[in-house]
Symmetry: C2
Subunit: 350 residues, 2 copies
């Protein structure tokens, strides 16, 4: 795909704490940086049309598709499926990917509901039992991919191995590294430590000896930000907790920085001189800039934005969708997952 070619995304217009009030301005921000985007927005027609009137540049590239059901942010996945299959803004946005009219779906709706619907609508690729949610994590050396960050509860050796394959495929597509390094998140680097499933997955990955990734062993929580590996694989519970904790720590330190600056005249003058440096730092520390996680292992691309984000944050998720499409992520993953099916070690693993 050439950089300027049109990319069509389907958008869940009702997702997120603020719904269309956040989503549509988010599209406006994304459009400035990615002018080749076109949108199919699903949601309450009256609200969408009214809000689009103030955003002529978005309106010009958007088709509004009226829907009658919105999935509440606190709905259980089973509830969401019952109430929202076929008619909800979330489902219709996913269905546009399935039918091929859109190349990726973006939703700020509730994670569990989106996962359940995406799985039901797009179906896992053959060889993938559980799709995973992958986040792009800033490191001191650039970026790495961390998965699974929250779509699944409970660990299985098979899923950890398949997540390693999915993550490596994403790293190849997004970072352009032919053989990305992959580590398993654990509580210690010694082989004796950690959950049995993580240890077993490590064993399989080591013996797999694949050419399309380099498995480097266990990594610890503090190795993620260090950029020790291109892909960090973790089970969904602790992965989600790691992601949220890192975001919280970044916000906490930004707050410390703000408090340190405010105290004296001297440091306020210093601050004025350092303002451009701080702007760069703030940019790096802004959790909205890394908003957006990708569901991997489904027959279609779905990007999940934080529910509580603002327009700037939603725009990051939309741009991530744009980048994934441009890099041909789905093709890359499809090719790699095909190799998974034929591996005998995996058939025996739990």
């Amino acid at each position: 795909m050439t950089p300027g070619e049109e990319i069509r995304l389907s958008i869940d217009g009702m997702g997120g704490d603020e719904g269309p009030e956040m989503v549509l301005p988010g599209l406006a921000v994304a459009l400035v940086r990615c002018p080749n985007l076109k949108f199919d927005v699903f949601g309450d027609e009256a609200t969408l049309v009214r809000r689009l009137a103030d955003l002529p540049e978005v309106k010009a590239v958007t088709t509004v598709h009226p829907t009658t059901v919105s999935i509440p942010m606190d709905a259980k996945p089973s509830q969401a499926l019952r109430m929202g299959r076929r008619d909800s803004s979330m489902w219709r946005a996913l269905d546009a990917v399935k039918s091929g009219t859109s190349q990726a779906c973006v939703s700020a709706g509730n994670t569990g509901a989106l996962m359940a619907m995406a799985k039901f609508c797009l179906r896992p690729m053959p060889g993938v039992e559980r799709p995973a949610l992958a986040a792009i994590w800033p490191t001191v050396r650039g970026e790495c991919i961390v998965l699974d960050v929250g779509a699944t509860i409970g660990v299985e050796t098979k899923s950890i191995v398949s997540n390693a394959v999915l993550g490596a495929a994403m790293a190849r597509a997004v970072f352009g590294i032919p053989s990305p390094t992959v580590g398993l998140l654990n509580i210690g680097v010694e082989e004796v430590k950690g959950l049995e499933e993580v240890r077993e997955a490590g064993q399989i990955l080591r013996e797999r000896n694949a050419t399309d990734m380099r498995y480097t062993g266990f990594v610890e929580g503090d190795d993620i930000g260090r950029g020790l590996v291109d892909v960090v694989v973790t089970e969904g519970f602790s992965g989600n907790i790691a992601l949220k904790t890192a975001e919280g720590t970044a916000r906490q330190l930004a707050e410390y920085l703000r408090m340190s600056i405010g105290r004296t005249l001297r440091s306020r003058i210093g601050y004025l001189l350092m303002k451009p440096a701080f702007a760069r730092l703030r940019d790096k520390m802004d959790p909205r800039k890394i908003n957006g996680a990708v569901f991997l292992g489904l027959n279609g691309l779905t990007i999940k934005s934080h529910g509580g984000t603002d327009a700037e944050g939603f725009a990051s998720a939309v741009e991530l969708a744009h980048d994934m499409v441009r890099h041909g992520l789905l093709t890359q993953i499809r090719r790699d997952v095909a190799t998974l099916k034929d591996e005998p070690e995996l058939a025996d693993a739990r």
Copy 2:
């Protein structure tokens, strides 16, 4: 206990990546801030005596106890018990707590080995099945206690509930709050989410309705640094990953800050003016300042320092031991754990 009263600590002189070369200078640093400390140091006599010759102020308050075995940093817990029971520096330091000659033990040795030995030597209090490792975590509002951060693998409802009680007791002792707020770390605030054991523990804590703590429900990773609750309870795997991830993120942001500053003459001048503010910030961000985690639920106090720390970090762990003794943590915990035994809900829980 009055602030100036003598406090006697037993020190594993051989623990940590650098052993006595880091431990003894660490005692020197701690002694400056806590001049009422006395030490029993266990380890290789020749090395300890040689190193103490350069540290006369430490030598004056230290008794050296020769031991012949050091537990390697990569020993499995079972291995450590086999090779080190009775004769190792780690065991002897713990045993001094058991026999009452020391009021708390500090070791920078390997976590799993220390946990196994501490459990074997000091024994869990009646009503506690699994002791927990508790860390003091800096927040934007002060500090909170997070446990379990890595001593145990696998979750049990009972342990999560007992950790809530242990953590609340520590918060009362250390922060002086009569009824500390307690939250369970989970992947979402809605009651429907997360591991079954975490949900079940939440149910029990809610129904328990204790006066010595206020259970507030689930918290997420980003709520820790926000200081939302006084005590964050988590199972050992994701707790350890959260702790390490936060430390890594702090180091990462310090590195970003350093990179932002170095770029232009203007920002370098600004930096000089802001130096005192930065010194305060660095102080808050320094992971060594929060080094030291406490084993809770044993018949004796044990403080674990990072293995890879330096003298400054080890001193933090020693000062933490000092503070725990001074606040009468053990008495506080003993009283609270006694209430746990009589609760019928816990007998039925897994």
